[in-house]
Structure formats: structure tokens, C-alpha cells
């Protein structure tokens, strides 16, 4: 065989093996993390974890009921702030925006997506915590809500752009206004993509720790209302993981598992709800 052929064939084999190897490493890394989490978290997980408050140092047992509820409350607040703004901005970009302003909005959104989460935390700290003179669930929710906006905007825009022009024209030709067309035909057709995008942003901010450290802070007890410092799973994991107690380490693992479970649960639930409608694909 001429040298060129041998060379070409070996490059081919080497590159194929390399891509395959990397794929295996990726899968392995993910399964390693998942397995570790399930193994250590599962061992420390019990019913009390879901129902009890954290115990004082030195006392074993207790749970993170307040942090589970706290995370849920923070995510609810974040959704109330982030989803409508992100969704409607995405609708604007896909359906109504002109060229110049849309470019500006899209560019800003990408920039916002790149802002480190801790910087967004500082922002919420300056704007809400300092004037109010105390940490609060509200400040944490806002920091997370802002973080949700960029991904919600871009995924909504993408999903809406994927809807064929023919469908829009069909509605317009029946006398629907632009907004009515978007609301009654285009958005339902794109719902699967929109919900997937929103679930992605939720999953992402659910695990954020940095922006909560000096906004929601944390709380070893129940937090009443929205105006007090509030516990959250990521911050608890952080606090418990760096503490010098074995018992706390175990609880941090359990909290990690619960966080993962909740995100997965919300994700599957949302997809089930959406898939009950008529999808764009041929039935």
C-alpha cells in the first residue's frame, strides 16, 4: 500500500477512536457523579430529612425540611419574575421585533447570560438587601429570576421561530390579529420547546449557590413569609460540606440527591403535561 493510503487510514482510525473515547469519558463522568450522589446521598436519606429541621451542632439526626420548602419558595419567586419577562421578550424577538432593536436585545441577553452568578448576587444585594437592611427570600428570588431570563428568552425565541410560516398565515387569513395568531396558534405549536427551555432554566437556577449567599442567606429555622432570610438546598449543601462534622457531610450528600430528584421530578411532570396536548408532529 502506498504511504498516503496507510497514513489516511490510520488518521481515520485514530480520530474515530478519539471521538469514541471522549464519548465514553463523558458518559462515565456523568454516571460517576450520579452514582456517587445516589450511593452516599441514599445512605443518609431518611424520612426525617424531609420533615425535620436541622439539629444543633453535635446532635445527630434532623433534616432539611426548611431548606426543601425554602428552595421551592425561591424557585417560585424566581419563576414569577423570570418566566413572564423571559417568555414575552422571546415572543417579541421572534414575532414583533424590528431589526436594530432586536439585535440590541439579543446581544444584551447573551451578555446577561454570561454574567457570573455571583455578580448577579451582588446586584440583588445592592438593590434589595442594602436598602431593606436585611437578607430576604425576595432578594434571593429576584437574583435567581434575573438569571432565568436569558435562557428563557433565547429558548422561547428559538421555539417560536421553528413554527412554520404557513401556520401563521393560516390564522392571519382567517382574520386573526398578530397577537391572537401568536397566542392561539404559534405559542401552542411551540409549547413543547418553550416548556423544555423553561425547565432547563429552572434546573439551572435550582442549583445556584453563589447568588443566594448574600441575598437569601440561609436560615436554620422555618422562614415565614417572603421577607426573612430563607434556607435553600444549595446553600445548605455548601455550609454542611465545608463543616468539620461527618454527620453534616452525610446530610450534604442527601441534600444533593434531593435537589437532583426535585429538578428531575419537575422536569418529567412538565413534559407529561405538555405532551397531553396535540403536538406538531404527525399523530
Amino acid at each position: 500500500m502506498p504511504f498516503r493510503t496507510i497514513w489516511r487510514k490510520s488518521v481515520n482510525v485514530v480520530m474515530l477512536s478519539l471521538t469514541g473515547l471522549c464519548a465514553v469519558v463523558t458518559v462515565f463522568a456523568l454516571f460517576f457523579i450520579l452514582g456517587y450522589l445516589v450511593w452516599y446521598g441514599g445512605k443518609s436519606l431518611n424520612w426525617a430529612f424531609f420533615t425535620n429541621l436541622p439539629t444543633p451542632v453535635g446532635e445527630t439526626g434532623g433534616g432539611m425540611a426548611n431548606a426543601i420548602v425554602g428552595s421551592a419558595k425561591l424557585l417560585l419567586l424566581a419563576s414569577i419574575i423570570g418566566i413572564p419577562i423571559g417568555l414575552l421578550t422571546g415572543v417579541y424577538l421572534a414575532e414583533f421585533g424590528g431589526r436594530t432593536f432586536s439585535f440590541f436585545v439579543r446581544y444584551t441577553t447573551d451578555l446577561l447570560n454570561g454574567v457570573p452568578s455571583i455578580v448577579i448576587g451582588i446586584f440583588a444585594y445592592t438593590v434589595i438587601v442594602l436598602p431593606m437592611k436585611h437578607f430576604s427570600a425576595f432578594a434571593g428570588g429576584m437574583a435567581l429570576g434575573i438569571m432565568m431570563i436569558p435562557i428563557a428568552v433565547r429558548t422561547t425565541e428559538e421555539a417560536l421561530r421553528g413554527v412554520p410560516r404557513m401556520l401563521r398565515e393560516g390564522a392571519l387569513a382567517l382574520g386573526a390579529s398578530k397577537w391572537k395568531t401568536v397566542a392561539t396558534v404559534v405559542m401552542p405549536a411551540a409549547m413543547r420547546g418553550i416548556v423544555t427551555g423553561i425547565m432547563l432554566t429552572l434546573a439551572r437556577v435550582a442549583g445556584e449557590t453563589a447568588p443566594l449567599l448574600f441575598t437569601a442567606f440561609s436560615n436554620r429555622f422555618w422562614s415565614h413569609g417572603w421577607n426573612e432570610p430563607i434556607a435553600s438546598l444549595p446553600v445548605m449543601i455548601y455550609t454542611y460540606a465545608i463543616a468539620p462534622y461527618d454527620d453534616w457531610h452525610r446530610q450534604a450528600w442527601a441534600a444533593g440527591l434531593v435537589l437532583l430528584g426535585l429538578v428531575l421530578f419537575a422536569n418529567i411532570g412538565a413534559r407529561l403535561i405538555v405532551s397531553r396536548g396535540i403536538s406538531m408532529r404527525r399523530a
Binding site: G170, A173, L174, G175
Partner: protein, 272 residues
Amino acid sequence: MAMKTSEESRPSERAAGAATPWPADIKMRAAGLDFYYGGKQALHSIALQVPTGRITALIGPSGCGKTTFLRILNRMYETVPQARPEGEVLLDGEDIFSLDVVSLRRRVGMVFQKPNPFPKSIFDNIAYGLRINGMGGKGTMAEAVEKSLRRAALWEEVKDQLHKSAYALSGGQQQRLCIARALAVEPEVLLLDEPCSALDPIATAKIEELLFNLKDACTMVIVTHNMQQAARTADFTGFFLMGRLIEFNKTAIIFKTPARKETEDYITGRFG
């Protein structure tokens, strides 16, 4: 909108063999109509009259402006930025450019080249136009849906699966569903943009028969690439070429004794 003197578009009655009488009643009338996409002129002083209760076919090679003309009649061109008509189009004597676009489109419905049912149930597809136009209360909705499906000759095939997805239907059924959807709001004019180009001959025959039966209820304008289709279905035919209306007359005359050389060349297949 600047008024231009309209060319005399009514052809002489000299031609023989025209079974259809020339109607006195004109539903839509275009006069001195120019159309621009940005700086590019797509239509040149079109003058055409759409007779009431008849089928008018628009034929011509690709890019000749027939679809552009069709999309002016219900102002669908407005979805394209920088598209701009000049001249006059009247619906029952009213200038369509000064009508409210929503009410214009309710009166002038449209069926597209490819079936475009909404990702909803069959029932909801038909009910959509009624709902957004505030027509048909709760009690009458089911009745109105049945009536439209019957008019589109689809009722017998779908009556037991009204709540299934419209995507479960075949291509031909989907196109009849789209016709039913357009008919539900009781339009006075129905525009059809190559409605059979994505369908097989059997589905096409069904649609043609359906159009024929709809003539008492509404005026139709159909753009088609298929000359046999124009000859079979239309009472009147207009031939477009390079943005101009070359000839407009009774279908029998256009296909048997066209007045213009270009028309004859096109229908005999010498170009296009």
C-alpha cells in the same frame, strides 16, 4: 391611494363557443394595480374583474405574479416587509386598502398551497375562525362545524373523530379541512393558492368537485400551475406573464381561441 384610469378590461363578446354568459355582477375589481417588493416591481397595472359566484383561474409560469396578485386580494402581502401596492382594488365597490384588515380577511378567505391545519383537533381547527371572530355561541358551534365540514365534503370521513388531531388526516383530507376552516366564517370570496399542488390526482379531483359545488355560496379565485385544472374548474381565466395580465376572458375562449400570441404559446406548452 392614487386612482389611475383603468384599462378597459372587459373583453369583446365576439369570440364564439363561450358557454358561460358574461356576468353583470362583479365581486372584486382591480384597476391600475402596481405592486412592489422594495424597489422591485412585481406587478404592472393589472386590471381584472372577478365575477360574483364564479370560479376565476389565474395561470402563468412561475414568478409571473399570479400568487402575488392573489395575496393582494386579502392583503396577505402585508406579512412581507416593504411590500407595497399602488392602484385600486375594490370589494363590492369598497376600497380594500381602507377596509379594516381583519374584517377584509373574514370576508375574503384563503386556502394555501400546502395544507396548513393548526396543531389542534379537527373540531378546533374549524371552530378557530368562528371563535376569533366572535361568531357562533356555545350551542351553535357544533352545528357550524358540521355545516362547514359537510360543505367541504369531509363530514362523513371525520364525524367520529372530531376530537382527534388534524395531523392524523391524509394530505387531501387536510386540505379539505383547510377549506372547511376557511368556509366556517362564511367568506364572500375564497382565494386558493395552488390548493392541489401537494395532492395526488384522486384528492385533486375531490377538491375540484368540491369547488364546483361551492359556486352558489362564494366567489372563488384559484391560482394554478395545472392548465387542465383551470380548464376543468374555472369559468374565467386570466393569463399572467412577467407581472402583467396578458389576457383575461372566459375559460373556453382562453383555451380555444386566445387573442394573444403569448397565451397561445403558454397553453400549448411552447414555453413556461
